[in-house]
Each structure stands twice: as C-alpha cells, then as structure tokens.
Amino acid sequence: MTRKDSGGEFTAGALTILPLLVAVVVYGLLFGTLAAQKGLSPLEVAIMSATVFAGASQFVAVEIWTSPPGIVLLGATALMVNLRHVLMGAALAPFLKGWSRGQIYGGLHFMADENWAFTLKRAAQTPVTPAYYLGLALPLYVGWIACTTLGTIFGGVLQDPARYGLDFAFTAVFLTLLVSLWKGKRSVAPWLASALAAVAGHELLPGVWYIALGGLAGSLVGAFMGPPALPAKYRETAKEGGNAA
C-alpha cells in the first residue's frame, strides 16, 4: 500500500469517529473533575489516560481511589471491568490478517468500544487496514488524554461536589452505560444476582470488595444464559480464523 492510500484510509477512519468525540470531551472533562476531587494530579491523570485508555475502568478506579491507593485492588478491578475486551479482541482477530505483529499488538492497546464497533462494521465490507484503524483510534486517544487532563486542572477548583450532585455523577454515568448494555431478558438474572450480591457485600465486607463479589455473582449466573447474541457472521468467521491460525 502506498503512502497516499494510507493517508486516505486514515482520513476515512478519522472522519467516521469524529461525531463521537463530543461524548469523549464531556466524559473526559467529567472524569478529570472527579479525579481531581480524589486528589489525583493532572500528570497522574494524563499518564492513566494514556496507559490505561479505558473509560469505565478509569471511572471505577477513581471511585475506589484512596490515598495511598491500593495497587493490587486497582489492578484486579481494572482487570474485571475490562474483561469485555477479551471477547472484543476475539471478535476482531479474524480481521487482522496481513497485519504485522507490531501492528496487531500495538494496535490492540487502542481498542475501545467505539472504534471496535466501527472496525467490525468496516470489516463486513472491505479489509481493515492498520491506517484506517489508526484513523478511528487516534482522535479518541488524543481527545481522551487531553480532556481528562484539562478536567483535572480546572475541575480541581470545584469545592463540595455533593452540592451539585457530583457525588451521584458516577452512579449516573454507570446507569447510562448499563442502559446501553441492556440485552433484554438475558440481562435480568445476571444483573439481579449482581445487585443482590453487591448490596449484601457492601453491608458485610470492608472496602470495595462488593464490586468483585457482585461481578462474580453476575457472570456466574450469566454463564447459564445461553450463547452470546453476537451476529452469526462474526461467530462463523471467528471460528474459521481460529482454525486457520
């Protein structure tokens, strides 16, 4: 592929992801504000956004952040919150044929819900090039680092977050994410199990282990809810890719 083609592919990807940057700006500023309330510095937030780059797990981390922070707890919680990446990476695998090892293992660091979805959409029509994938990913990545850092710098000015209902902001963010994760009947039992275990764990256990307890209960119940509702096409191609490799 020529340099010019790569430029065109990159631009196509970037234009596709552009409308979603509005949400990145708003959530990024909100995240920075909440991180500042927990005493994280702009530099720490910038490093976290660059090296972790996973919104939901970063919101959770700041929610359970203490000073000094619990290293093992934060690492383990990020692992659990981001477990969905395992499924996402599995679905993406068959479409990365022809990429170099560096492009694959470097590119996967930038895999987020939004560019993952658009990558699969593209893959249904034409092979996905690293340049197109980078065009999807880079605006999100740079925007997320910039907005979370700015939020930390300016959000630190806000005093008494409860006055503005900001202590409820985490709950509200996660509720809106939950609405988008709702998969009808198959969500009812796992979520109910998770809620019950979490409320019980919150009463009985120290710290934030109620999150792990609820997550475990919900996924155990989820194991018995039948196969995931991935489009059949992706499951088939994933299987072929797996056998071929």
Binding site: T176, A195, A223, G242, A245
Partner: protein
C-alpha cells in the same frame, strides 16, 4: 505537577491488566475458540460489574438516590447520555432538598 510513586504503581498495575485484556482475546482465538458457558460468562461481566458498582448507591442509600437513579435510567432511554447524567445529578440535588 506532582507524581506520587504509589499512585504511579497503581496506574501501571491498571495499565498492565487492561492491556492484558486487550490482547488475550486475540491470543486465545488464534489457538482455540471461546464458546459455550465461558463466552456467556464473559459476556455478562461488564453489566454485572457496572450493576455491582451502582447497587449500594441506587438501592441501599435512600429514597432520593433511588429516585434519581430511576430518573437517570428513564432519561437515558430517550436522550443523549450526557443529558441523562446531568439530569440525574440535578434530580439527586432536588430530591435530597425535598425529602430532607
């Protein structure tokens, strides 16, 4: 611009486990297929985790918080997510004032 060593270690622990989740699915599919119970369990994880995080605040704190949670969900069904978040925060302020 301060950088606390313990905070940095915690951030790097998060980064390492998150990167692991990103490459593990690809790595796994190249060797085997994730199917059956395992796939169903993995699929349920994000919703279960998010539910667990919000459950104490939404169900076991007070009527103002439970009411605001309901309002947030109703807003999120129809409106952009950020409007729902703002509405939920306003609702909790209003309900706390009303029910205090």
């Amino acid at each position: 611009m301060q950088l606390d060593p313990v905070s940095l270690a915690a951030i790097l622990a998060m980064a390492a486990s998150t990167y692991f989740t990103r490459i593990f699915g690809y790595w796994l599919v190249r060797r085997t297929t994730v199917g059956g119970r395992m796939a169903s369990a993995l699929e349920a994880v994000p919703g279960a985790i998010l539910t667990a995080i919000i459950a104490p605040m939404a169900f076991a704190t007070g009527p103002a918080e439970s009411g605001a949670a309901l309002i947030t969900v109703l807003l999120a069904l129809r409106l952009p997510l950020i409007v729902a978040v703002a509405g939920g925060c306003l609702a909790v302020v209003a309900l706390r004032a009303l029910l205090a």
